[in-house]
Symmetry: C2
Subunit: 676 residues, 2 copies
């Protein structure tokens, strides 16, 4: 604040000084420059006043939290608009080719193949860190570790462009938006956090961390217009402890994001007021019979079991991509070809004149979900009229096969197609596909129940409710989290089904978590060898209990208490850490551990009296927390993350054994991950 004030003061007091010093060929130029400068000064003063005015209401950081929400939501809306435009264009071309099956086939298959190739090309040649969902990396960053290149501007640009390509693949490629969007929103948060630090002038230590947590909540909230599930997601994605100070900022930013996202639908004239993303027509008077709860319990068990199968296949597939030479070569050197090939293959299967006719492949993913959530049973003939109102759902009921068969074909084919799509080296989210898959599982159970009870007095069985519960349960089980239950509620606004949705999701989660099985994101973390402790613990619980002594390296730089300034300067220049340990040689052992702050030394080193002793040169402080080499990696990690210290010294009976910093801990975890 002071810096801006001073510079504006200086410029307003001596405007003529700068004007005379420059080139003065034209008599008009100095005048223009002066007026331009005075405008700049006026703008600066205005900005300064605005800042002061804003700060009287509440801290400046709150505006930045709100800004993350609003900007991310705008980006989300823009992306949705462009994706819709591209998909509509493709559908129009496809319909215009009606009559020639070959041309239609080429149009249908080459389009996603090209999109996958472009997305893959972008991530291969522009920024290789933009592939995948980014959530495993975000989790690692939230755990405190730096993941280089993952928050760069190039990455954001590549990720956004690639994601538009992926999403334009529609229900053929069948990939989602949430994961990459969480990543994009953390990048947005990181830039705004840097801007905040720049404006504020002072560097708050944990401001960046807080912004990171807030942005994960924003990512989900501005994708779905769902603030509560956004906040719950940010709680679940945290490593093992959620600091309460992030709670209010998360809610604020998520609410701003969700509100902007939904308001845009109003402004664009799409809706009259703020509504949920998926409109459902569930009965509120009698949403379900109390006894149906048992069926929801069964649905939870079923979804849990299917998720175990899915996760197991996914785990194996990831292992193959790391061990099979063909796949390794394809995924390292021939990325673009591989992506185009997989895109082509997926499109062949979903071609409407082939298997696509049984799996609603002409619909977008949103339309498929809407049709699955429809409250009337597809079986009841009297309801066909109302089903037909939702034009795209025609696909499910109008095929030659009886109603449940297309669903079963959809489930069988989509399982391996989903797994195949997960190997694509493009920016893609994996949440929405499993959400829709779960909805199909639920729909199947619901339709079966509607068929069985068609003669009884259970007249109001709602298969849409089962689809909703199934979606929450299956996606919850795959990600081993409960926020999908909230997402399901917020996406549809169905509060009446809270009970069943929670029961199914909880049971599916417990089935999926039984036996410490790793979740979908854990699989990715392990496959990428990220230093994420909870994922490593899933695979090998003993890892976290490894004593520090086994992994610790002796400190590279040490200072004796009797050291002179020359030694201090040498030590500081060779050390890569912020704190240099100072030991006190006393008797036979080295006992007291103190630390010298790097900044203090830099200030002190201006003086040239190299003979002065340590305590004259810089401020030596005792570390407030010490670890012993008997403490475990888990303990070291926990203490380091809650203590706000950058360095923790490890001592044994007063003797210095080493130091724990974030890079050092990262090295240890990476070493441990090698053994898996």
């Amino acid at each position: 604040a002071n810096r801006i004030e001073e510079s504006s003061m200086a410029e307003s007091t001596y405007p003529q000084k700068g004007a005379h010093s420059g080139d003065a060929e034209s008599p008009l130029l100095p005048h223009m420059r002066r007026s331009c400068r005075s405008t700049r000064t006026a703008v600066k003063v205005c900005l300064l006043r605005l800042k002061m005015c804003m700060e009287t209401l509440c801290g400046l950081e709150w505006y930045f939290f709100a800004a993350v929400g609003i900007l991310t939501a705008l980006l989300s809306v823009l992306m949705d608009l462009s994706v819709t435009k591209i998909i509509t264009a493709h559908h129009r071309v496809y319909l215009n080719l009606e009559g020639s099956v070959l041309l239609q086939f080429l149009c249908w298959t080459l389009y996603p193949a090209c999109l996958c190739a472009v997305a893959s090309w972008l991530s291969h040649y522009v920024c290789p860190f933009s592939t995948g969902s980014g959530i495993p990396e975000v989790r690692t960053m939230l755990a405190g570790f730096e993941v280089p290149h993952y928050l760069s501007v190039t990455n954001m640009f590549t990720k956004c462009l690639g994601l538009v390509c992926t999403l334009s693949g529609g229900s053929t490629v069948f990939l989602g938006k949430v994961g990459p969007f969480v990543h994009v929103s953390t990048m947005m948060g990181a830039y705004l956090s840097r801007l905040h630090t720049h404006i504020q002038g002072q560097n708050k230590e944990d401001a960046g961390d807080q912004m990171m947590v807030v942005s994960t909540a924003v990512g989900v909230a501005s994708c779905f217009g769902a603030p509560i599930s956004g906040v719950l997601f940010s709680i679940e994605v945290a490593c093992s402890l959620f600091p309460l100070k992030h709670y209010l900022p998360c809610f604020l930013a998520a609410s701003c994001g969700a509100l902007t996202f939904r308001l845009f639908a109003v402004w664009s004239g799409e809706e009259e007021t703020l509504q949920t993303m998926f409109k459902t027509n569930f009965s509120t008077k009698l949403p379900f019979y109390p006894l149906e709860i048992l069926i929801f319990v069964f649905l939870g068990l079923l979804c849990g079991a299917v998720s175990c199968l899915y996760l197991c296949c996914h785990r194996r597939l990831l292992r193959y991509t790391r061990t099979m030479p063909v796949l390794i070569r394809m995924l390292t050197t021939e990325k673009v070809l591989y992506s185009a090939g997989v895109g082509f293959l997926l499109a062949c299967v979903t071609f409407p004149h082939f298997a696509g006719q049984f799996m609603a492949s002409k619909c977008t993913m949103k339309q498929i979900l809407t049709s699955l959530l429809h409250s009337k049973s597809w079986l009841s003939p009297s309801q066909n009229a109302s089903v037909l109102e939702l034009a795209p759902c025609v696909d499910w009921t109008s095929s030659v096969l009886p109603v449940p068969l297309p669903l079963i074909i959809f489930l069988l084919l989509k399982l391996w197609m989903l797994l195949l799509a997960c190997t694509l080296p493009i920016p893609a989210g994996y949440f929405m596909p499993v959400f829709i898959y779960g909805a199909a599982v639920g729909r199947l159970v619901g339709e079966s129940l509607a068929y069985v009870t068609s003669g009884s007095n259970w007249t109001a069985v709602n298969p849409g409710g089962y689809a909703l519960a199934g979606a929450a349960a299956f996606s919850g089980a795959c990600t081993q989290s409960l926020s999908p239950a909230l997402s399901a509620m917020e996406l549809t606004g169905q509060f009446s089904h809270t009970g069943p949705i929670f029961i199914s999701t909880l049971i599916a989660n417990m089935v999926s978590r039984a036996g410490q099985r790793p979740s979908f994101y854990d699989n990715l973390s392990i496959s990428k060898r990220l230093p994420h402790l909870p994922s490593l613990k899933r695979v090998s619980p003993r890892l976290a209990l490894t004593p520090l002594g086994q992994l610790l390296r002796a400190p590279s730089v040490l200072l004796q208490k009797a050291a002179r300034q020359a030694e201090v300067q040498t030590a500081v220049s060779t050390s890569s850490q912020a704190d240099v340990p100072v030991v006190d040689s006393d008797g036979e052992g080295i006992h007291a551990v103190m630390a010298v702050k790097y900044d203090d030394i830099e200030c002190a080193s201006l003086s040239k009296n190299l003979g002065r002793c340590l305590e004259e040169v810089c401020c030596v402080h005792y570390p407030s927390i010490l670890l012993s080499s008997h403490s475990t990696v888990q303990q070291a990690y926990t203490v380091l993350s809650v203590s706000r210290e950058q360095t923790l010294f490890v001592t044994d009976g007063g003797k210095l054994r080493g130091a724990i910093t974030w890079p050092e801990l990262k090295r240890m975890l990476e070493d441990l991950a090698q053994d898996i």
Copy 2:
């Protein structure tokens, strides 16, 4: 498990042994006893099988989490039923006395006075720890400190009985159920946790903590049938870090509680299926105009401002009760008289022939809230018919005064009545009163808007939505939490108003939190001098930064490394702590710190060779984390709570300065609280 198996084995193998040792007058008795014993054995075997069968599905603790939810919900339902019965009886008596105003006055005023007196008598003579809401104490226990007597059986009994009395006071006493119910559910959790430990045989260290967190979620969930707000409450009530491992158990238990609570309404024939507690009839097509969001922002600011006034008055009132001699005497020795007096005074004001006619005093609190949430404006004459359908709401519209005046009278009178009721020494919740008060504030804003826009094209303004947002905002601002927003949604099932409710609640929260003002519960914690660090930090932020060295006491018991068994036994018998520090006298200073586990010594003390040295007698371990006397109270608290250690030793340059345990930290915080 082994113990039960062994005992059942023992009994089944030697049944005749026990039978012969007892009295054998009747020849039938041994036979009966034998059959009885074999039945007992059979039951035990059955139980054992059941336990093994349950454990194959999932860990035994999950059943206990579910049990907490179900039992607490049953207790909640029972309490609701009895309270409804008592209130209905009183109303019937009051109506039968129609004609004689004096008799009606006596009936109206003596009834709450007696109830308050009984509740106060119970808490004064049976268990003095049952007064108040119990949430400040629960927060302290969640922070890791023991609060003696707060989880005793007597307390549970007294609290439940007293709470029934308080709630039977209805809208005259105007106190709620949530706070005490959270306390009751933590007691329930504590008993079940003990039972779990007993069955499991082994003592898991953090099982009790986990059960405590889970029960707080259950308390809210089984009171409102609202699982999500229950879980968010348990997150908010945590001290500063929420451990993620409690998240799934919380959701499970809260869902079980909420489901049981709502299923009971179905079983009792009250409802056809699971429904929300307060039925509303908001329009889902056009819940609100987008521009109304600005009015909701204003409502948030208004609620925030009113909450600041309320909290300030509450803080002063609490100070008076601690400083004014008259109040001190009344609240220590004349509790029953004081409660009866306050009850009588409150009843005088709400007497239907006096001010009560303007404030719907004949209605229960639930009816008042339902009428405030009604979606049609009270002003529109065409809607009077629909308003009259809700019989108890007649009070608001049928009085001689025009519609907004009763609301204003309600708001003005209830503010001081609420504050007065808060001083009553009876078990009582303070959440529902502020929730309803906020709904009234919101309704006033909504009705004003409906009046202003009555001629314009805003035809569908819904004052009920403002009441809902106001309720969430005001109660959120008073408790400085966001879970009331979720409660508002879950109580009414209004998902369409998510946006407005969140905006109002967030803004009201930020207004209330500005300037580090203490919340309602912080006020109570400070007034009760509880060792709750976040509350203390609110009043004096510097407190948490006090260095440990200023507060630390030198360790009372120390062992030299060269100590013999006799010394070890003396040290252990005099020390009250689990770990006894062992120091290593080396040169001039005392350096290495080790600790002896109490349990180890007890095992070792069986041997009688008192001359053996320390390391032969017991297992000496190096502490894994050490603090220095420069570290702050906040750091010590954080490290102690996350490290799972019972004792943290404080050293300076290798020399032992003292030890931090939970009782020691409690003493420190209580010392610090004295200075406020």
